[in-house]
Symmetry: C3
Amino acid sequence: MPLVRMTFTPNHSPETRHAVADAVHAAMVATIDVPALDRFQILTVAEAGTELIYDRTFPDLERSDAFVIVEIQLAAGRSNDKKRALYAGIVERIAAATPVRPHDVMISLREVGRVDWSFGNGIAQYVPEG
Amino acid sequence: MPLVRMTFTPNHSPETRHAVADAVHAAMVATIDVPALDRFQILTVAEAGTELIYDRTFPDLERSDAFVIVEIQLAAGRSNDKKRALYAGIVERIAAATPVRPHDVMISLREVGRVDWSFGNGIAQYVPEG
Amino acid sequence: MPLVRMTFTPNHSPETRHAVADAVHAAMVATIDVPALDRFQILTVAEAGTELIYDRTFPDLERSDAFVIVEIQLAAGRSNDKKRALYAGIVERIAAATPVRPHDVMISLREVGRVDWSFGNGIAQYVPEG
């Protein structure tokens, strides 16, 4: 059910972008019980300064020219601990597989209901009735 | 009040994209009481494999190269039945008017409050006071 | 914590787009207590008619070719009064600094939890434990 939108800069190569997407998905499977096949990701590239404006230090970080924003829309109900495990799992996997630094990974979750999703065919697969 | 964002692939022609947008809006008017003039839609195209990564079968579907994601941000409060009618109404209208198959239409709703919207002029038109 | 996404048309010059982004951020700082350094904005341009479809009058407005949509994802909990002050503050500052008219500024808020945010480094900065 999650839908993930990632905003990169031109400083991330296509290979890096794909590896970040892989890492984000692997972390979701490992930490918040997302099925391995439940993968839906949108990747965009935005030019820093004109298409992407971001502070370099807030609240106490050091962001570079290779900043990335990961927005995850997912079913409501994960505990705070699960969410923190997801954040840690994402940056660990990204750092292990790509040149992107942990300080450059911003993550934003957005919770929705299970009935708020149709995977296809016009059906609310998770809440087909009631 | 709804804001709709649709992500297509280059396999959808401009005419198909516009017809999908028409179908989505018509279904919203017919099934969840959206005013006919209340239409605000953003259409983007993403290259499958690099800009759009999606599973072809999860959870039990057959997606093609012409997959589309329809994200709808709308006022909270529609019943589950209304939401299911919306999903069915969208894919029916898309299938009737375009080559896009029902299995290729993913829909995601996101509910917000009525005060969370300004149509313009700096006013919260639905909750102007209180 | 807010993440702002703005959708412009090609009728807005790059200078206007940046000035709108500045105005939106200044209004957030002034009206809803966002820290001045807490600035994260994504700016996109969409061609009206094909990439951006919008009604010119709903519900009682006059939109031009220079329409802009401002989507703000922020921590839940601002009062209705704060939200209305934000809407007014955004259009006032945009009108003072750019050619964009108040009727052409649509604003949409989306509330999320404070734990739903990692600014970087894999940590939930606002809810590090509990």
